[in-house]
């Protein structure tokens, strides 16, 4: 944590509302970025960010300061995003099957267009958006934000081994998507047992 942020956290813990607002100003874009990566939807991401800061505000006294404030916010955001995605499933009946094939029928994402674009980052962002939310959440938290397996499992309410399984499955799907890997879902399912 930078000295400034640490100082703001200390002041905010003593009840300084202005200090907490400064913390929000300093970190909200980063928090929104994570929320958008996790939810894949701007409206959901805004709700997640609001809820995350509300929880942080109410729970700031419990923040021990042994982790960076940003890491603490990532954990809260991950938890809020998981709840938000749960609500979305309830309301929209989204398909969450981990082994479902990633179907992308948008013309701008056909293989030729991808080859032409040649932009790994852009293709990666697109591939992430197509992952089932429960796989996307784990791979983003681990591989982009470097959260430990233990923290990811705790915030998502799953076991550490389940978090690892999701991570490896997500990486495999991303690799297949980005590099036209040799394995298809069907092929793997055939060899699964």
């Amino acid at each position: 944590m930078t000295a400034d942020l640490a100082e703001l956290v200390a002041l905010a813990k003593e009840g300084d509302q202005q200090a907490f607002e400064e913390l929000v100003r300093a970190t909200y874009v980063d928090t929104y970025t994570l929320a958008l990566r996790l939810t894949g939807d701007e409206e959901d991401a805004r709700d997640v960010v609001q809820e995350s800061y509300l929880r942080a505000y109410k729970g700031l006294k419990r923040f021990r300061g042994d982790a960076r404030f940003s890491t603490w916010m990532y954990r809260i955001t991950a938890n809020c995003a998981a709840n938000q995605l749960g609500k979305r499933v309830k309301h929209r009946h989204d398909e969450l099957d981990d082994d479902g094939a990633m179907i992308d029928d948008r013309p701008e994402h056909d293989p030729e267009a991808q080859a032409d674009a040649g932009d790994l980052r852009r293709r990666l962002t697109s591939a992430l958006a197509e992952l089932p939310p429960r796989l996307r959440t784990v791979v983003v938290l681990r591989d982009v934000y470097d959260l430990p397996h233990e923290a990811i499992a705790a915030e998502l309410g799953i076991s550490e081994s389940a978090a690892k399984v999701r991570l490896h499955r997500a990486r495999r799907k991303l690799r297949e998507r980005l590099f036209n890997g040799r394995d298809t879902g069907e092929e793997e399912q055939a060899h699964a047992v």
Partner: protein, 121 residues
């Protein structure tokens, strides 16, 4: 050993948190296909880590919304603290008045007892 069975094993090993056992390692050392997969996993991981520096700007208004929510909650909290402080002060005052009353009664009782003793003798 079949290359198809190693997909998630290689995915687990790419960040160094899991190691390949001897049998798998021997296979990968002699299998160009698996080596190519491992290279792709490394590229993927590198690209994922690079996303960390990318910032996605929210639409205008988000900061104002967050601050307004926090302010509202802060005000509610302040009002609750104020009310609970007043309640505590009221209860404290009541307790002090009761204690003072009791002390006064004891003093009066004691004095009146002392006053009566000589008369009794």
């Amino acid at each position: 050993m079949r290359c198809e069975d190693l997909g998630e094993t290689l995915a687990a090993a790419v960040d160094g948190t899991a190691s390949l056992d001897t049998v798998v390692r021997t296979h990968v050392d002699h299998c160009l296909r698996c080596q190519a997969d491992l290279v792709q996993y490394r590229r993927l991981l590198k690209a994922m880590r690079a996303l960390r520096t990318e910032v996605l700007e929210p639409a205008p208004g988000l900061l104002a919304d967050i601050l307004a929510t926090i302010e509202e909650v802060g005000e509610r909290h302040a009002i609750r603290s104020l009310l609970s402080g007043r309640r505590a002060a009221y209860l404290g005052g009541l307790a002090a008045a009761t204690a003072a009353g009791a002390a006064g009664a004891i003093v009066l009782t004691t004095r009146s007892k002392r006053g009566r003793l000589p008369l009794a003798g």
